[in-house]
């Protein structure tokens, strides 16, 4: 386990609001993520978990509030969003690998065309990562030839290869067959060991309890309860939290 540096947050968000027309999806969310920390976002479908992650990556424009990445206010309108996005990796539930590119080229694309690395340098970085997740022999395969678990691990590696300051994982195991979930969770555990800072929306409660340092329970676009992971699951205070946990574990 890496030690968490509590002195200065890697990411700080205050009063994040997001509406779709009249519907309030996020009703003022505050969030602090410290270097090396893993924050788990839990909550039922439609509670705003995915929207929050998309707002943090600036894929969605927030309707109020502020977001800081270290010392930079990334919610300021004059910010170069493309520059910010390579610092904040986002991985999707549906993998979204580039269908026309090999596994290797999926990973090297942003290394070369966003970070301006040479082809050789980008490929050596990509191959190091593929080796780490045991997919080096698949580097020239296309995404549709890989299992869901292999695709999702590639998608995660595609994001972390850019060496982002923060990694956002949006229900990365929800679209997988049950027997493929384990290999993806294993990779996330591995990333935590090497000090990656992660915010993950998840339905895997036992995994959240094992790996997360901090758990946030979102309900109808606001934080209903949050706390240190082990304590949160052992002693939920709010009735809503208890009900949600009971419903999920009762499945």
């Amino acid at each position: 386990m890496t030690d968490i540096d509590w002195s200065k947050p890697r990411l700080r968000a205050t009063g994040i609001r997001k509406n779709y027309d009249e519907r309030v999806v996020l009703g003022g969310v505050d969030l602090e993520v410290y270097p090396g920390q893993i924050v788990a976002l839990i909550g039922s479908s439609g509670s705003g978990k995915s929207t929050l992650l998309r707002c943090l990556n600036l894929i969605e424009q927030i309707d109020d509030g502020q977001i800081w990445l270290e010392d930079q206010d990334i919610s300021a309108p004059e910010v170069d969003q493309d520059l910010v996005r390579q610092e904040i990796g986002l991985v999707f539930q549906s993998f979204n690998l580039f269908a026309h590119l090999s596994i290797l080229d999926n990973i090297t694309l942003a290394l070369r065309h966003v970070q301006g690395k040479s082809k050789e340098e980008a490929e050596s970085i990509a191959l190091r990562w593929l080796d780490r997740i045991g997919l080096a022999d698949k580097s020239h395969s296309y995404p549709d030839k890989l299992s869901g678990g292999q695709q999702q691990r590639t998608a995660i590696v595609r994001a972390v290869a850019l060496n982002p300051k923060l990694l956002l994982l949006d229900e990365v195991t929800s679209a997988l067959d049950p027997e493929l979930v384990g290999e993806v969770l294993e990779l996330i555990r591995d990333l935590k060991q090497s000090g990656t800072t992660i915010v993950m929306a998840t339905h895997e409660l036992s995994f959240a309890r094992d790996v997360a340092d901090w758990v946030i329970f979102l309900d109808k676009g606001v934080i209903a309860e949050e706390g240190e992971a082990v304590e949160f699951f052992r002693n939920p205070r709010e009735a809503r939290t208890k009900e949600f946990l009971a419903r999920l574990s009762g499945r």
Partner: protein
Amino acid sequence: MTQTQSEYEPSAIEHARRSFRIQRKRKSTLVAIASTLLFSLVVAIGLVSTPGWERVTESFFNIEVGIEAFPRILEGIWLNLRVLFFTTISVVVFGLLLALLRTLRNPVFFPLRLFAHGYVDFFRGLPLIIVLYIVGFGIPGLRLEWLGRIPVEVLGTVALTLTYSAYVSEVFRAGIESIHPSQRLAARSLGLSYGKSMRLVVLPQAIRRVAPPLMNDFVALQKDVGLISVLGAIDAVRGAQIEVATYANFTPYVLAGILFVLLAIPTVRFTDRISAKLAQREQSGSAL
């Protein structure tokens, strides 16, 4: 060690099924051959027995006239080929440009988007032959001295490009819009700009997907280059027309037609191959 498929001996039932399938296939092949022969025979007898058949063969399939007219028509089709070459290149460039203009969402680009929209509507509606007349006789009519005398084949290329860019841009646009937004989202989330995600992620997939309809438009273009003859360019059609007037015989037209078909066949076959390959890639494993 499991047995390989070649070592495996199928059961009696499977053997029976296989021989039944082979027999059925043989039978349908025979039926197809027989019906083709019969159909050709009926058409041939029907044609030959018409009262004017002899005169038609004389004026449309006259071998001597064909040999006499051949050099001029061949020279003409070479002009058609050159015009086709340059038109294809400019149609791809302008078609893609128009398609990209129409996908721009920033309000700043509203005039450009409006222009592209209007252009595509206008030139898809306007008959090609009218475009040819307007460009072919209108532009020289402006008497722009600094341009000098523009060769008719250049004017023809411009007119064909104007019309075909409109069609091809719609094919490109359909391709771009068929790529799932999540692909662009993934590209943007990695920090790629709008332009780069378009160029590196969306367009390569879009072009691959629309290759078959795109090739279809180029097959159509291949024969429409013959229309530049209305401007007076001595292409295969115009060359044939001259020979028809010389010999008072229609064989040169037939000859030019055959040359155009021969020209189209490689492109058509190529298109079929691409379509088949794409279909195979997209539904690998399923037989239906």
